[in-house]
Structures are given as C-alpha cells and as structure tokens.
Symmetry: C2
Amino acid sequence: VPTPLPDSTYAVLGLVDKLPRSSGYELVAVARRSLAHCWPISQTLLYRELERLDQLGWVEATRVEQVHAPSKRVYQVSEAGARALTEWLAQAAPTTGTFRSGLILRFFFAYRMDPRHVRELLDGYRRALHAQRDELIALIHKLEAMTTPESRAGRMTALHGLRTAEARLLWADEVEAADGEGNLA
Amino acid sequence: VPTPLPDSTYAVLGLVDKLPRSSGYELVAVARRSLAHCWPISQTLLYRELERLDQLGWVEATRVEQVHAPSKRVYQVSEAGARALTEWLAQAAPTTGTFRSGLILRFFFAYRMDPRHVRELLDGYRRALHAQRDELIALIHKLEAMTTPESRAGRMTALHGLRTAEARLLWADEVEAADGEGNLA
DNA sequence: GTTCCCATGTAACCCGTTACATGATTTT
DNA sequence: AAAATCATGTAACGGGTTACATGGGAAC
C-alpha cells in the first residue's frame, strides 16, 4: 500500500477548493488568518504542497500576468482532486489533536522559577491570548457577514479557537488568583 | 553559536528533576499521564533525550538490579544539569504554542461532507474530550492530595488542559445547537 | 530612497513519529 | 497457554521548520 499523504496536503487542497483561482501567496495569507488555529502551515510547506498537488493532477495551475505586480500562478482543483478531497473527508478523522506549548511546559516546572518570572510568563501568555482572541473575533464577524456554507464551516472552526482562547484567559485569572492567596508562590 | 537544544530535551531534564531516580520506563508513563497535555513526548524520543542528557553530563545514570523485573537504569540531574535547567527556565518563553487537530481541520471543510458524517465527527470529538477531561480530573485530584510546590505546578498545567477540554465540549454543544436550527446543514 | 507589498522559490536540517525487536517475569 | 507488565532499544522516514534569495513595482 502506498503511504497515505499527510493531512497538510489535503488542507491545501481544501484551501484551493474554497478559494479557487488564488495564488500561493494569497493562500498563504488565508492560511495564516483562518487555518492556522487548527492546522498551521508555513509558507514553504504550502508552496511544496501546491507543487505536489499539481504533480498529482489534483489541481490545475494557470499563469496570470499582471501589470503593477509580478505575474502569478493561480490554482483550481481538478475533477480528480475533488474526488480525492471528498474521499478524504469521508474517512474517519483522528479524534486526538496535538498541542505543544513551550510556555505551559515551562509552567510545569514553575516551582524552579523566580515567582516574579512566573508572573511575567503569565502576563505574556495573557497578552498573546488577547491578541489571538481579538483576531478570531474579527474573523468571525467577517464570516458572519457572508452566509455561504463555506463561511459557516470556517466560522465554526474559528469559534473553536475563540472558545479555547477565552477558556485559557480565564485559566490565567484562576492561576493568578490562587497565586494571590499564596497557593503558588 | 551552537544551535539551541529543543525544548523536549529540557522537558525530559525537568522530568528527571521532578522524579529523581526514575527509569526511562517510569518517566515515559509519567510523561504520558501528566506532560502529554502540553508537551507530548513519545517513548522513543524520551529515551533518545535521556541519552543526550547523559552525554551532555546533565544527568547521571545508575544501574539498578531487580529480582522480579529486568534491571533498569535510573537517572538524576547533575549540578551542570540543574544549572542548565534553571537557565532555560529563566529565559523568555515563546508565547505561541502550536495546535494541530485533524478533526477540526476536516470540520473546516464540513460544507463538503455528508451532514450525518459531520454529526459523527462531532460525537467522536465529544467522546475523546470526555475521556481527556476525566483523565485530567483524576490527575488533578491526585495532585491535590499532595501539597508540594512540584505538584502544585503540575496541577496548574493540568488545569489548563482541563479548562481547554471543557470549553471545547461546550463548543461542541454550541455547534450542534446551531446545526439543530438549520444553520449548519 | 528606503521600506513595504507582491510573488515564488531553494537549501538544509532535525525533530518526532511509527513500526518493530527482544526477553524475562507475573498475572489471568 | 496467553496476555500483560517491565524495560530498553533500533531503523527508517518525512514532515515541518528556519533562514535565506530574488526582484520588480508601489508607497511614504
């Protein structure tokens, strides 16, 4: 049996499906904005997957010349690509995701840290969560304006990220409250 | 400058610090139980990092013979290791973690799926979150019994995972409610 | 006239994963 | 007799990352 393709391949395939006739550059921007919260993809990887999709015949590339910008290549899924996408979506999905946070990892060893530094970590985390939350709220509002099924699906996943960020902000408060009672330091 | 070591190295170093005179096998179990929620480490990787720590002189290994089980090697951090750990902890931590969920990724393309399958995905997710939540609750209860600073730090990170799982369970309800109103299908 | 936006890549690395191997002892 | 626990590894792979290169047009 051939080794199955990584999910990132299908992620990009799906992106092309959602935003036909987009360039790699545009897809990178969209991925950063809307997909990064459940499946981050770096610029390099996205371009690599686009090439793979092209070689698989799952997308078709078209060169587009531009006047006040460099020429670009835009993509759209082929029939074979559409089949591959729906087939992949029909399969059972892994229920377990992976989460890696260098910050929480360090928190795990907080007992070896200067209490002031613990506060700093917590503050930094809170700031990052705030920014993330604001981004997601803006995204959700933007998606609420549209009423297509595509935008609704995107809104639900964005909401997943938002609820997560909100819960973690509350967690930060919780920890700081416990800290205030002297239960941490 | 030498390339900095990956955080996983310090994660294992910290584990050895937290649980001195443990074998690799025991550390794997602990990592699965308590560290996996913020920094998953596979068995192979943990053993590899233990060897690296040994070569760095950051831990010292001791052979321990056993009667009713194979002999094992137990580890404890050296002075150099302790220095490295505190130094690492004193540095600024990255505020951004990475989250990858194949399930939520597929959800992003829900508009291309059979609505029944969407429900199945959601149910599977809910079950997985339930299991995770129960595990974390049990872990937190166990850690609450102890009152050491180490256990408190562990409890806070476990709480982080718990709050996250709870929020996502609520999200699943939210999505299903929207679905019931015909806003998704 | 420097800096930002468009647009697409190359090169190299290595972390982390999965699958498998081994073998003694203890429990079912 | 089979399965689970203890205990430590090897082998191979590739996915994802960071850093860097390039170059024209537009904006300030």
